[in-house]
Amino acid sequence: MTEHKASTAEIIRASLKRRYRAERRFRLYGLLAVCFGLLAVLLLLTDIIGKGHGAFRQTYVQLPIHYDPELLGIGDATDPETLMRGDYQALVRQALRARFGEVSGRAEARELNALVSDGAGYELLARLRARPALLGTSETLWLLADDDVDTWFKSRGGSNEFTGRVSERQIAWVASLAEQGEVALRFNANFFTRGDSREPEEAGIGGAAKGTLLTLAITLLLAFPIGVAAAIYLEEFAPKNRWTDFIEVNINNLAAVPSVIFGLLGLAVFINFFQMPRSAPVLGGVVLALVTLPTVIISSRAAIKSVPPSIREAALAVGASKMQVVLSHVLPLAMPGMLTGAILGMAHALGETAPLLMIGMVAFIVDVPGGFTESATVLPVQIFLWADSPERAFVEKTSGAIMVLLAFLTLMNALAVVLRKRLERRW
């Protein structure tokens, strides 16, 4: 008997080592899983920031520009019509020739002219339009460098210098400019104010940001009141019947329907049937409102649920009607929670891309949109468009735009957290 017992204990003792090993192994797997997730976060963020931090600075070249009326081919700088006809790029070419001396051969001249962006001429036009008296005079200006020069200049001296699209001669020219301090990285204001462009050095997220603002305004205007009303109905008034159950099932399902399907809905119903304008913020706003509606409803319901029944009962006891109870007591108390939900819903809408591709917000739009029915694009779609562009400089722009997008998302989420901490009452 005793021998037998001892052997059982021994069996268990012998198995302990194995069991503890299994325990440690399991624990290690868990730790590895967490580390994998954290590593993914870290990799994603460092990759984006590493690629995109340069987008906020742009290479500029300092050149003395002489507004030569003959070269421009215009005599009267006060007439806007005449101004438009001037060949401003010729001024830049002349300035470059003056700086580096005559170049031999066409290929070399082309390379020299390619140092400065094609958009520099427009800047000169704008300056001349603002001050017609400049015609015939000279001034020294910082002009936008070409994107290839910009890419090389930023990677210069680093471990992975990128000389793919600049020639030896161009490098020598820019290096000689750099020695004199006539080429420099300056804050890239264009990136925040301009619309899209085929030239990476001129492209900006201004248009997309405005489009996002207009679209999200419509989304908020639709999704918040409708979502709150739906939540109030479902929490406070809905009788227990089939229709209510059906509504609940539908809301839960819509929350999990792929967003690209909402794009199909927008295309078939809002564009083809209701003839709403394609690519317009108003249409994007309506579609995104439908996408975010389930989120808003679900969070608003949670906020209403958290208001204790004693408040309702007290109001009912002093003679308020059900509607008065809800509108004057429950709703104000649930409002912080609802606002938090609305902000999170807007953050969701801000990052949504797929449904907007379907309804034509993917068009190449240079102008900053002025109204709700004008063609526009939004920040995530702009990122998608730039990510598809072959020019290397767009990689930097795309990452820069992603950084701006992530900054906005962080801001909105932080706002939601602060709002929740500050305003939400614990009962």
């Binding site: 868990g30 690209v260 295309l267």
Partner: protein, 462 residues
């Protein structure tokens, strides 16, 4: 008068109605000795006046906005000489759009036949008189509603009940939008998909092994060629989703278990929000990351190992998609694990089981239905995910299970078929809706099953 101006004038009229009704209720109350002799508060009389003024007029306006285009267009068509109207619906809509463009001045008048120019003029007059008509009707309805509402006021009028009834119906309408959205999705997708299946037999679509929608449109062939066989898309979608789930489910499960059962409170407070960041990153960012960082990395890794990896490999897209779904799986798992009653956990530990044995033999089996539901929800996410695959997966519809090869998915094809110029009668465009239908039905089924399982499971321990 444009619709926007009409809505503004309606709002102004309603404000006037509120003011009139409100002051009239006060006037009614005065001889009786104060507002306590009224049935409702003056606020409700005012609101009732505003509702009577604004609501019927708004309904009229909405009906008009919904149906004015078809009415005007059919009137224009009816006004054309019989021989000028083509028989086919496609040609008819082409003619109509020509007329509309001439009318708006987008097309020059000079090059058009006389009948079209006449129709364009007629279109413009009809539109003008239509707008005038709707303005008159809407404002007429508003004013008569205002007068009627204010006239029929008495101290006994149950104004609060009337207003609250309207409010209640408005709340119900808002709640029902979810149903109408689902219905709208279903109808729009189904309707276009049926038109597609008229051109391409359903069996060819479901069982065809070759997908090349571009060819079909160029040759002018409609179906029958097998160019719309969706099997490669289904396989590609399943392959990428499977890779994603292979990453997300173990990592999500294990990290949720570790954070719930092993980690210290401090680590949990840091690691949980950090993992949640992954859920907040927009999918287009993941797409960029997959296409520009992960895919080249995998290709080079494959090259050093002597494997030929496509630059748009399924592996890269699936891997990044898996990372995206990790927080989704882990937060669902976390909910489910914490829902398992502590008595089960304590009982197992008391019997001498180690923590990992408790997790493996007690908690996971008890939480299994919930975990399965969560995995199904994650699968539906992976199948419907669009941006990552649009940016990182390929366009070539290859029937392969090799994760290093390039495959395409349902969502990629929907996007490529519908982005850019479209003609709405070609099978190419309609195919996107057929794919949308498949996607909607699949995800709907997965969601319904998963939500049902999760709900049943919650009830088990509640």
């Amino acid at each position: 008068m444009s619709p926007v101006n009409l809505v503004i004038s309606l709002a102004l009229l309603s404000a006037v109605a509120y003011y009139l009704a409100h002051s009239r209720s006060l006037a009614l109350a005065k001889p009786l000795g104060g507002i306590r002799h009224l049935h409702s508060l003056p606020l409700y009389y005012g609101l009732r006046g505003a509702v009577w003024c604004g609501l019927p007029a708004l309904v009229v306006l909405c009906l008009w906005l919904m149906f004015d285009d078809p009415v005007v267009q059919s009137l224009v068509l009816a006004g054309l000489p019989a021989n000028a109207v083509p028989a086919g619906p496609a040609e008819r809509s082409l003619l109509l759009s020509t007329v509309v463009n001439v009318a708006s001045g987008a097309l020059p008048v000079a090059e058009q036949p006389a009948a079209v120019v006449a129709a364009a003029e007629r279109y413009n007059t009809l539109r003008g008189s239509g707008q005038l008509l709707v303005a008159v009707i809407t404002l007429g309805v508003a004013v008569s509603g205002l007068l009627w509402g204010v006239r029929r006021m008495s101290p006994q009028l149950r104004a609060r009940q009337e207003v609250e009834k309207v409010f209640r119906w408005a709340l119900l309408a808002c709640a029902s939008i979810a149903i109408f959205t689902t219905l709208g999705i279903l109808l729009s997708v189904l309707f276009e998909a049926l038109r597609f299946f008229q051109a391409v037999p359903l069996t060819d679509f479901l069982f065809g092994l070759e997908w090349s929608p571009q060819m079909a449109i160029r040759e002018g062939q409609v179906g029958g060629s097998g160019a719309f066989g969706a099997v490669p898309l289904f396989v590609g979608t399943l392959l990428i989703s499977a890779i994603a789930l292979l990453v997300a489910v173990p990592v999500g499960l294990m990290s949720a278990i570790y954070l719930a059962e092993y980690a210290s409170a401090r680590m949990r407070n840091v690691a949980k929000p950090a993992l949640e960041i992954l859920a907040g990153v927009p999918t287009v960012v993941y797409g960029f990351f997959a296409a520009l960082t992960v895919a080249p990395f995998i290709r080079e890794l494959g090259a050093t190992l002597g494997l030929s990896v496509s630059s748009e490999s399924a592996l890269a897209a699936g891997l990044v998609m898996g990372v995206m779904i990790i927080p989704f799986v882990s937060s669902l798992t976390d909910d489910i694990i914490t829902a398992v009653p502590n008595s089960l956990r304590d009982g197992s530990l008391a019997l001498g089981a180690t923590r990992s044995e408790t997790v493996k033999k007690v908690i996971v089996p008890a939480a299994l239905p919930g975990i399965v539901g969560g995995v199904l929800l994650a699968a539906s996410r992976a199948i419907g995910e669009t941006m990552i695959v649009v940016m990182a997966a390929g366009l070539a519809a290859r029937l392969t299970l090799n994760p290093l090869d390039t495959v395409t998915t349902i969502t990629v094809q929907i996007v490529t078929l519908l982005v850019g110029d479209q003609e709405f009668d070609s099978p190419k465009t309609l195919a996107a809706f057929a794919l949308g239908l498949m996607l909607f039905v699949t995800t709907l089924l997965l969601n319904v099953i998963a939500l049902y399982i999760v709900k049943k499971y919650r009830e088990l321990y509640d």
